[in-house]
C-alpha cells in the first residue's frame, strides 16, 4: 500500500461537504443534487435498502423450504415472496448495482470528466428508480397482495391472477426506463466527455464494460417495456395480444420477454467483469494481460448475448431450427467469457499479489462465475436442457452467475471503492473474515440445488417430495451462514465509512484516474486538467523486469 507519498497540499472541501445547489446541508442538498457522485451515493443507499428487503424475502423462502409442507408461511405468500424477491433483486439490485452506483461515481472520474453529460437526467433516473422500487414494494400493502406470477410475468397466468400484477408491471416499466436513461447518459458521456488525451484504448476496462452495458440497456430494455405494457393493457382492457383464449400465442410473450431478459443477464454481469478487470491489476501490481481482448470481449458479449434469448425456451415447443440455432449460439457466447477468465488468471501470473478484501472477493467471483458458466454449458446442451429446465438446477445456475458473479462483483467494488468515496477505511481483518463466511455460506446455499435439480426438484415449489429434504436443509443452513456473513460485512463497511481511519489518496496503489485525485473527491473531481500519458494499467514503476512477447 502506497501510504507514504501523499503530500497533503491544499485539501479542498470534498463533494460530501460542498453542495451543488442552494441547500448547503441536509437532505435537500442531496436529493436535489445533480452531482454524479452524490447521485451515485444516493443510488448506493436506496439500492442497499431494497437489497435488504429482498435478502429478507430470500431468507423467508429458504426457511419455508426447510421442511416439506407448511413451515412458516402459506403457499400464496410464498409465491408472492419469490416474485418480489426476483423483481427487487433483478431490477433494483443487480441491474443498477454497478452501473448506477459505481458507474455514476467513477465513470466521469475515470475518463477525466467533471460530471456526466446530462446531470439532470441522471437525477431523474434516480427518482424513477426510487419511485419504481417503491411501487413494487408498496403493492404488498394493497388488498389482494403483490403479484404472484414470478418475475417473468408469464402470460396467461399474469393476465388471470387476482393479485396486484399491474403495480409490479408499472414498476418494472419505470425501472426499465430509469435503466435506459442511465445507459443513454453513459454512452453520450463516454463519447463526448472523455479527456482529449484519453483515446478509446486508454479507457479503463470498467468504462469499456459500462459502454457495452449501456448499449444493451438502450437497445434491449424497450422491448421489455412494451411487452410488460402489453400485458398490462391486456389485463386491464381485455385486448387480445398474448392470451391464448383470444388467439394469442403465449410463446411469443416468452420470446419478447427473453429478448430483453437474456441480454439483461449481460447488463448484470458485464460491469462486474469490468470491476474484476480493474481490481486484479491493482492488487497484482501488474499491467493487465490482454487489454484489447478483454475490451473487445465485452462488446462481443453484448452482441452475441442479444442472439441467444430463446435458450430459455427449449421446452416451449419451438421449431427444431430455432432450437438448433439458439443452442449453437449459446455456446459461441461462452467464448468471450472464457477469454476474460483466462486473461484475468494470466494477469496474476508473475504479479506481486496482495490479498486484500477486494481481491479476495474477486477470487470468489472467478470461481463462482466459472461454475455458473460451466453449468450454463450444461443447460445449453439441448437434450440435457430438456431435463434441467425449470428445476432448481437452473435456480442454482443463475444464482451462481448473478449472485456469485455480479453480487460478489458488487461486494468487491464496495471494498475497493468505498474508501475512496467516503475517505475512510474499514477494518481489513473483519472484512477478510466476512469474505470467508459469505463465500462458504453462499456455496452451501446454492450447491445443493444443483444436485436436487438434477434429481428432479422443480423450481418455484412451495412443497416438495420428502426425498429432497436433505438438500433443502443444507441449503437453508447455508442461507443462515450467508446472512451472518453479509451482516458482518455490511456492519464493518458501515462502521468503517463512518468512523474508520482516514485514507490516503491511493490506498491500494491503483493507476486509474480516480486514484490520482483527492480523497474524497472534490466537487468537480479534478483540480487541474489531468495528465494522461500512458494506458490505465501502467505499473512500470514497480515492474523492473520486462518480458517481451512474441
Amino acid at each position: 500500500m502506497a501510504k507514504t507519498a501523499m503530500p497533503e497540499e491544499k485539501v479542498e472541501p470534498s463533494y460530501l461537504e460542498v453542495s451543488t445547489n442552494k441547500y448547503k446541508k441536509g437532505i435537500l442538498s442531496w436529493i436535489l443534487s445533480v452531482d454524479h457522485k452524490r447521485i451515485g451515493i444516493m443510488y448506493l443507499f436506496s439500492m442497499m435498502a431494497f437489497f435488504t428487503v429482498a435478502v429478507f424475502f430470500g431468507f423467508l423462502i429458504r426457511l419455508e423450504l426447510i421442511a416439506p409442507g407448511r413451515t412458516i408461511i402459506d403457499a400464496q405468500t410464498y409465491n408472492q415472496l419469490f416474485t418480489l424477491h426476483g423483481i427487487i433483486m433483478i431490477f433494483l439490485f443487480i441491474i443498477p448495482g454497478l452501473p448506477a452506483v459505481f458507474g455514476n461515481f467513477f465513470l466521469p472520474i475515470m475518463i477525466g470528466a467533471k460530471d456526466v453529460i446530462f446531470p439532470r437526467l441522471n437525477l431523474m433516473s434516480w427518482y424513477m428508480f426510487v419511485f419504481g422500487g417503491l411501487f413494487a414494494v408498496a403493492s404488498m400493502l394493497l388488498p389482494g397482495g403483490s403479484a404472484d406470477t414470478g418475475w417473468m410475468f408469464y402470460v396467461p397466468y399474469s393476465v388471470r391472477t387476482n393479485t396486484n400484477v399491474l403495480p409490479a408491471l408499472i414498476a418494472a416499466f419505470i425501472l426499465g426506463f430509469s435503466s435506459i436513461l442511465t445507459g443513454l447518459n453513459f454512452i453520450t458521456t463516454i463519447h463526448r466527455m472523455r479527456h482529449p488525451d484519453m483515446s478509446w484504448f486508454k479507457m479503463p476496462l470498467f468504462v469499456w464494460s459500462l459502454y457495452a452495458t449501456a448499449w444493451i440497456q438502450v437497445l434491449a430494455t424497450p422491448i421489455i417495456g412494451i411487452t410488460l405494457a402489453l400485458v398490462g393493457i391486456e389485463r386491464v382492457l381485455g385486448v387480445g395480444i398474448f392470451d391464448p383464449a383470444l388467439g394469442g400465442d403465449p410463446v411469443l410473450y416468452q420470446h419478447l420477454f427473453w429478448i430483453y431478459s437474456h441480454p439483461a443477464v449481460y447488463i448484470m454481469i458485464l460491469p462486474a467483469m469490468g470491476v474484476v478487470s480493474e481490481i486484479i491489476p491493482v492488487f497484482s501490481r501488474r499491467s493487465i494481460f490482454g487489454y484489447k481482448f478483454i475490451a473487445f470481449s465485452s462488446l462481443a458479449i453484448a452482441f452475441f448475448g442479444s442472439l441467444v434469448w430463446a435458450h430459455h425456451m427449449f421446452t416451449a415447443g419451438m421449431s427444431d431450427t430455432a432450437q438448433f440455432v439458439f443452442s449453437f449460439i449459446t455456446y459461441v457466447v461462452s467464448i468471450p467469457s472464457a477469454i476474460k477468465v483466462f486473461n484475468w488468471l494470466s494477469t496474476m501470473y508473475k504479479g506481486s499479489i496482495k490479498l486484500d478484501p477486494p481481491f479476495l472477493y474477486v477470487m470468489s467471483f472467478i470461481v463462482q462465475f466459472s461454475i455458473g458458466g460451466f453449468t450454463g454449458l450444461m443447460l445449453g446442451a439441448l437434450s440435457l436442457n430438456i431435463h434441467l429446465q425449470d428445476t432448481s438446477f437452473v435456480v442454482a445456475h443463475f444464482h451462481y452467475v448473478m449472485f456469485g458473479g455480479t453480487g460478489f462483483g458488487i461486494f468487491a467494488a464496495m471494498h475497493y471503492w468505498l474508501p475512496k468515496m467516503f475517505g475512510r477505511m474499514y477494518n481489513l481483518k473483519v472484512a477478510t473474515w466476512a469474505w470467508g463466511i459469505v463465500t462458504v455460506g453462499y456455496n452451501a446455499l446454492y450447491m445443493p440445488m444443483f444436485i436436487m435439480g438434477y434429481l428432479g426438484m422443480p423450481r418455484r415449489y412451495y412443497d416438495y417430495l420428502p426425498q429432497f429434504q436433505p438438500y433443502h436443509v443444507a441449503s437453508t443452513i447455508g442461507s443462515w451462514i450467508l446472512i451472518i456473513g453479509l451482516i458482518i460485512m455490511f456492519t464493518n463497511l458501515w462502521i468503517g465509512m463512518r468512523k474508520g481511519p482516514k485514507t490516503s489518496m491511493n490506498p491500494w496503489g491503483g493507476e486509474t484516474l480516480e486514484w490520482k485525485i483527492q480523497t474524497p473527491p472534490i466537487l468537480e473531481n479534478f483540480r487541474e486538467v489531468p495528465d494522461i500519458h500512458a494506458g490505465p494499467y501502467d505499473y512500470s514503476k514497480y515492474e523492473t523486469k520486462k518480458e517481451t512477447t512474441k
Binding site: A75, F289, G290, V332, M348, M378, L382, G456
Partner: protein
C-alpha cells in the same frame, strides 16, 4: 442418481457427465492455477512484478480450444434432442390435459384417468394440452419435459424401460398449488396393462388394488 428408466435417460446422463467432467477438470485447473499464483507470486515472495502485455498465441489457443470443446457439447446435446423429436409412428397416443392443478390422461378408447398407466417398452406419444395457464409435463426419471399451452399442440414421447412408479410433475409455474400438481406414471408388464386397459371402465380411473398388484 442415474437410473435408466426410459430410452432417453442414458443419453441425457451421458451428456451431463461429459460436460460436467470437462468442466470439472477446467474448474480445478482454474482454482489450482489461481491459488498457485496467489501463493507463488505473493507480494512477500515476489515483490517485483514482471511486465507482460499480451500473448497472441495464448489468446488464440484459449479461444479455439474452448470453441472446439463447446461445439462437441453442442453436438451431443443436439443428437440427443433429435431422438426426443423423432416420434415413432406406431406410438400409443395419449391425450394429456393439464388444468390448475391436476393432470388428466385420455386413452385412445376414451378411458380417462388421473394417473398414467403405460406398458413397459412401448412407445408412448403424449399430446399436451392445457385448459387454462401454462404448465409443463415433466417426468424426471425419464428425463423428459415439455411445456403445455392452451392453444398450441405440443407433444412428447418416451419408451419406458423399467417397471415401476415414477413421478409426473408440473415444471412451469402455474399458481397456488403448482407444487402439488404431481401425478404418477405406472410402468407395467404388457399383460398387466392389457387386462387393466380392457377391464377398467372410463369412470373407474385409478384402482388402488390394481396399482398395488402392478407394483408387487
Amino acid at each position: 442418481m442415474f437410473t435408466s428408466a426410459s430410452n432417453f435417460s442414458n443419453n441425457v446422463d451421458a451428456v451431463f457427465l461429459y460436460i460436467a467432467g470437462l468442466s470439472f477438470i477446467v474448474l480445478i485447473g482454474i482454482i489450482v492455477a489461481m491459488i498457485y499464483f496467489v501463493i507463488r507470486y505473493s507480494r512477500k515472495r515476489n515483490p517485483v512484478p514482471t511486465h507482460i502485455e499480451e500473448n497472441l498465441t495464448l489468446e488464440i489457443l484459449w479461444t479455439t480450444i474452448p470453441l472446439v470443446l463447446f461445439i462437441s457439447m453442442f453436438y451431443f446435446g443436439w443428437v440427443g434432442y433429435k431422438d426426443m423429436r423423432a416420434i415413432p409412428s406406431d406410438a400409443m397416443q395419449i391425450k394429456v390435459t393439464a388444468r390448475m392443478w391436476q393432470w388428466t390422461f385420455e386413452y385412445p378408447n376414451g378411458l380417462k384417468t388421473d394417473t398414467l398407466y403405460v406398458p413397459v417398452g412401448a412407445a408412448v406419444r403424449a399430446e399436451l394440452h392445457s385448459v387454462d395457464v401454462n404448465h409443463a409435463f415433466y417426468i424426471p426419471a425419464f428425463r423428459i419435459k415439455k411445456d403445455v399451452y392452451a392453444n398450441k399442440n405440443n407433444d412428447i414421447w418416451f419408451r419406458s424401460e423399467k417397471i415401476g412408479r415414477y413421478d409426473i410433475a408440473c415444471a412451469e409455474y402455474c399458481g397456488l398449488k403448482h407444487s402439488g400438481m404431481y401425478s404418477a406414471v405406472y410402468i407395467m408388464k404388457q399383460e398387466d396393462f392389457d387386462s387393466w386397459y380392457k377391464t377398467t371402465s372410463a369412470k373407474a380411473g385409478l384402482q388402488p388394488a390394481l396399482t398395488a398388484q402392478i407394483l408387487k
